[in-house]
């Protein structure tokens, strides 16, 4: 094996210029593919983190059927076993209780529909990052019945801190849900649909308003390692009574975001596919030339007693050496660049930033440091190399030593 290795390695350097060109082309493919994908995945992760952090969290538990019919009648009082399950799991850093519903808001002679979220504001600040969004006033105390309203709603009613807002809605099992509540603060959300109609209030006040004491519409789970999400979801699914509860991850909660990412991702994959196709022809060209140049040598090796299988192994090694070498160099060079752009993400400015912010996303383009990106692309390159090696393999399998030695 050592000699086969040695032969394969030395064969690469027989035609140095050609090998260097081939290795360089593979290197650039790996570099650009990993570079481009790192930004693409980085942006997706940022979008997910924005959306998940803004509103949904990575996982939510509801009463079974709530997500299909988001009514306060589908609220629930969580069993102690559920709370224990969440408390005991080290991967869950915290969980937020929410009571969410809708109400008609009114002030003077104006009305507007709004999303009412009864939350534990202290915990919710950790998830939704509310403090920086508070543009005036303060957070109400846990036992208070004051409101935080979104900036869009405040400007609709021309309202400021200290004014009062009327809420009119339907409570649990048809009870009336009416009240007048002082505004203690105004929040500015980047997402227009939240900024125009969100009202936050302490959960106790919301439960009282909706005549739903102790009831929740969702338990929002906070985790600090999103990569463990699938494992955690599987674990909780096993422990949770799925007849009674439903467990949804962010993909189930934000299907529009998933579709947006999938559509954008498809574009990226096509571009990288074209890049790889060009590189494939380069690799194939090298192998075609190498095979044609060495037909005589192949004939000799078979004549003197080398089995075709060993000869094929040598050729596969040669091709893989080039692929592995180029991938290692590519990954080594792109890694510090990715690291730099992860620590110093590209910040969009002016109109570009505004258009991104309008969708509720932070206007930054960070590079992902996920090692899977580099490994996947190295794997793709090696696969391409192996596919291209089919040509010399077939040539060797068909080779007649006498004919080959005449070339």
């Amino acid at each position: 094996m050592k000699m086969i290795f040695k032969m394969a390695w030395r064969n690469i350097w027989r035609n140095k210029r050609r090998s260097i060109i081939t290795i360089s082309s593979i290197f650039f493919a790996v570099f650009f593919a990993v570079f481009a994908r790192s930004f693409q995945i980085g942006v997706y992760n940022k979008m997910i983190a924005n959306m998940v952090g803004m509103y949904t969290g990575y996982l939510q538990i509801h009463q079974n059927g709530f997500w299909e019919e988001q009514s306060i009648d589908n609220s629930f009082i969580p069993d102690q076993s559920v709370l224990d399950l969440l408390h005991d799991n080290k991967d869950i850093t915290d969980f937020n209780e929410r009571l969410e519903s809708f109400a008609l808001t009114a002030s003077d002679n104006l009305t507007k529909g709004a999303i009412i979220m009864g939350v534990n504001l202290e915990k919710e600040d950790g998830l939704m990052d509310l403090s920086p969004k508070l543009i005036s006033g303060e957070f109400p105390a846990h036992t208070s019945s004051s409101l935080l309203i979104s900036e869009g709603l405040a400007s609709y009613y021309n309202m400021s801190v200290g004014d009062s807002l009327i809420l009119l809605g339907q409570g649990y099992h048809g009870a009336s849900a009416n009240g007048i509540f002082p505004v203690s603060g105004i929040l500015k959300f980047p997402m227009p649909n939240l900024n125009d109609r969100l009202v936050l209030m302490p959960i106790l006040a919301a439960q009282e308003l909706y005549a739903a004491p102790e009831r929740l519409t969702s338990l929002v789970l906070q985790i600090d390692k999103p990569e463990k999400l699938n494992k955690l979801k599987k674990y909780i699914s096993k422990k949770l009574d799925l007849e009674k509860y439903e467990l949804l991850d962010w993909k189930g909660l934000l299907p529009e975001l998933v579709q947006t990412i999938q559509a954008d991702n498809a574009g990226g994959v096509i571009i990288i596919g074209v890049l790889y196709m060009i590189i494939s022809f380069g690799i194939l060209g090298t192998l075609l030339m190498m095979t044609a140049e060495r037909m005589r040598e192949f004939g000799i090796l078979i004549s003197i007693g080398m089995r075709k299988s060993k000869l094929i192994l040598t050729l596969i090694m040669e091709s893989l050496f080039m692929g592995i070498l180029a991938s290692i160099i590519g990954i080594s060079v792109v890694s510090p660049v990715r690291y730099y752009f992860n620590r110093n993400p590209i910040r969009l400015e002016d109109q570009a930033a505004e258009s991104i912010e309008a969708f509720g996303f932070e206007p930054v383009i960070p590079a992902s440091l996920d090692m899977d990106i580099a490994m996947n692309h190295a794997g793709i390159v090696l696969l391409i190399v192996l596919i291209c090696t089919i040509y010399p393999i077939v040539t060797i399998l068909r080779l007649k030593p006498v004919k080959a030695m005449r070339t």
Partner: protein, 227 residues
């Protein structure tokens, strides 16, 4: 002991529908320890005959037996293994592996045979010493002269301890000094170690050294002379 036996060995090439008999029903027997030259004009069928005896080319008709084994009945892999164990090749164009040194070229055959590193090292050094290339062990083919390359090729052919060596025009690309050195070396191996050689050649110097000269013309043996 009979090492090579061909019976009605025939090779027909078809060229644009025209059939050419390169080798025409040749019956040949080579005994162990012979130093035989096959001579004849270009296109007479010398190389084709050698290729069929070496299992490099298929016969159209007839059989080749090497040390009692009918090589025509062997599968492709069996034939490759058989060549590795039984036949040493010396080609006109040396045909060394360009990326391996002289020593590695000789070792390569033994590596394919599965010999240990120690055995390979010892035997390759012995053989290269035998062909007078002790100081060229680590030279690659492009660092050797034609004569030196051909001597490495002989050492490589001997490495597997074959039943016989087939040499196709081994001196065709050599100058007279290199030819003389190579022939002396092969003749000495034949005499002292009873290595069987079968040459195809045009070279009068090789013919002069041979102890049996088989002349073929138009694919047929027309003369078989022992000296």
């Amino acid at each position: 002991m009979e090492i090579i036996k061909t019976t009605h060995l025939t090779k027909v090439y078809s060229n644009n529908g025209l059939e050419v008999k390169a080798v025409n029903h040749i019956d040949l027997s080579i005994e162990e320890g012979e130093f035989t030259a096959i001579v004849g004009p270009s296109g007479s069928g010398k190389t084709t005959l050698l290729n069929m005896i070496g299992g490099l080319d298929d016969s159209t008709e007839g059989t080749v037996k090497i040390a009692g084994t009918n090589i025509n009945s062997l599968s492709e892999n069996e034939l490759i293994d058989f060549r590795l164990k039984n036949i040493g090749f010396v080609f006109q164009a040396y045909n060394l592996i360009p990326v391996l040194t002289a020593k590695e070229n000789v070792e390569f055959i033994m590596l394919l045979q599965g010999l240990s590193e120690k055995e390979r090292k010892q035997r390759s050094e012995e053989l290269l010493n035998h062909v007078g290339l002790t100081d060229k062990l680590d030279s690659r083919p492009n660092q050797l002269s034609g004569g030196e390359q051909q001597r490495v090729a002989v050492a490589r052919a001997l490495a597997s301890k074959p039943s016989f060596i087939l040499a196709d025009e081994p001196t065709a690309n050599l100058d007279s000094h290199s030819t003389s050195t190579l022939l002396d070396m092969m003749a000495e191996m034949n005499e002292k170690e009873k290595v069987t050689f079968l040459f195809s050649t045009h070279d009068q110097r090789v013919i002069d050294k041979a102890r049996r000269v088989i002349t073929i013309e138009d694919g047929k043996i027309i003369k078989d002379e022992r000296r």
